[in-house]
Amino acid sequence: MTLLSQVLDFCGVERERLRARWVSSAEAPEFVEEVNRFIDALKTLGPSPLKVKTAKMGVS
């Protein structure tokens, strides 16, 4: 994680787009909460720069 988030940042991908957390299978509410928080964070960041690129390439 330490490594990958920094490598992504180096390549121009926001490190907030990467997240890892251990959640037990017995902790469903924890999981839901975490995913919702991640979704909120991603909505604030907006669409991924990578996604834009793929769409463009699809056209050309």
Partner: protein
């Protein structure tokens, strides 16, 4: 310099310490890796210097790994520059070579080569010929490139790497030349991860997969950079992962013979030791 190397190798053969010596041989004007056997003269042995020093470098370690898999009982000698020896240390750590079955015959690189390579340590510990020189300026040049990247903002970095990665023709040259790539099954050839025959490659996943695998291995020899037909600055990318490993964990691949990689340890991350 080559006479000293020859003497050393002949002595090793005489003392029955090695069964063969993996070096470079010049034949018909071409330099190629060659396994010199006992009883054979060291005819054509060369150090990879043709027009200028070190212009014929080969990943000899990679060939040594192949040989060691085939003949695990044999002790072999190998011609090693500073980068080759760093690679050997890495391969010892990763259990690909047995330190007791490898005898490096080290040669130091001249200053101009060290500078051109931006080499941190252009001489091996097992030095047989040449002088230990420090390539001071080159270190700066390397960091400056990384420093220059750090001054760019996120969008600029993204478009820089996107352009670079999209040049990739997926020739696997970087992996094939890499002395630290030894896996029998390569993730980059796993069809579930990388679709065959598709170009451009998945950006940035394809290159970052390799970068992550290289994080605690890359010895900064620069062969991938030289091999890449698309001139992707791969070395810059791996320099970055090496820098992160150093800053976060105080680890540099290939510097110590008995090193252990923080990425293969369980438990909390080791703290950087003050130098």
């Amino acid at each position: 310099m080559i006479d000293m190397v020859k003497q050393k190798i002949e002595a090793l053969f005489k003392e029955k310490k090695i069964a063969g010596f993996l070096g470079l041989r010049e034949q018909n004007g071409q330099v190629a890796p060659h396994l010199f056997m006992e009883g054979q003269a060291l005819e054509g042995l060369c150090l990879g210097d043709r027009k200028i020093a070190g212009d014929a470098r080969y990943p000899l370690n990679k060939i040594l790994v192949t040989l060691a898999r085939q003949y695990p009982e044999k002790t072999l000698g190998i011609l090693a520059r500073g980068c080759d020896e760093r690679g050997l240390y890495g391969l010892f750590r990763l259990n690909q070579l047995d330190p007791d079955r490898v005898i490096p015959v080290g040669i130091a690189c001249p200053g101009d080569l060290a500078l051109a390579c931006e080499c941190k340590k252009p001489f091996p510990d097992a030095l047989a010929a040449g002088e230990k020189i420090q390539a001071g300026e080159s270190v700066k040049a390397g960091l400056e490139t990384l420093a220059a990247m750090d001054t760019l903002d996120l969008d600029k970095r993204f478009s820089f790497w996107k352009n670079q990665f999209s040049k990739c023709v997926k020739c696997y040259g970087c992996r094939d030349i890499c002395p630290m790539c030894f896996c029998k099954d390569c993730s980059l050839e796993c069809e579930d991860l990388v679709s065959k025959g598709d170009l451009p490659v998945d950006i940035p996943v394809f290159h970052l997969t390799r970068a992550m695998h290289m994080a605690d291995r890359c010895v900064d020899c620069g062969l991938c950079d030289e091999a890449c037909p698309a001139d992707i600055p791969l070395r810059l990318l791996y320099k970055k992962t090496a820098q992160i490993m150093d800053i976060e964990f105080g680890f540099t691949s290939g510097i110590n013979k008995d090193e252990r990689s923080p990425l293969s340890m369980m438990g909390p991350a080791p703290k950087k030791v003050a130098k």
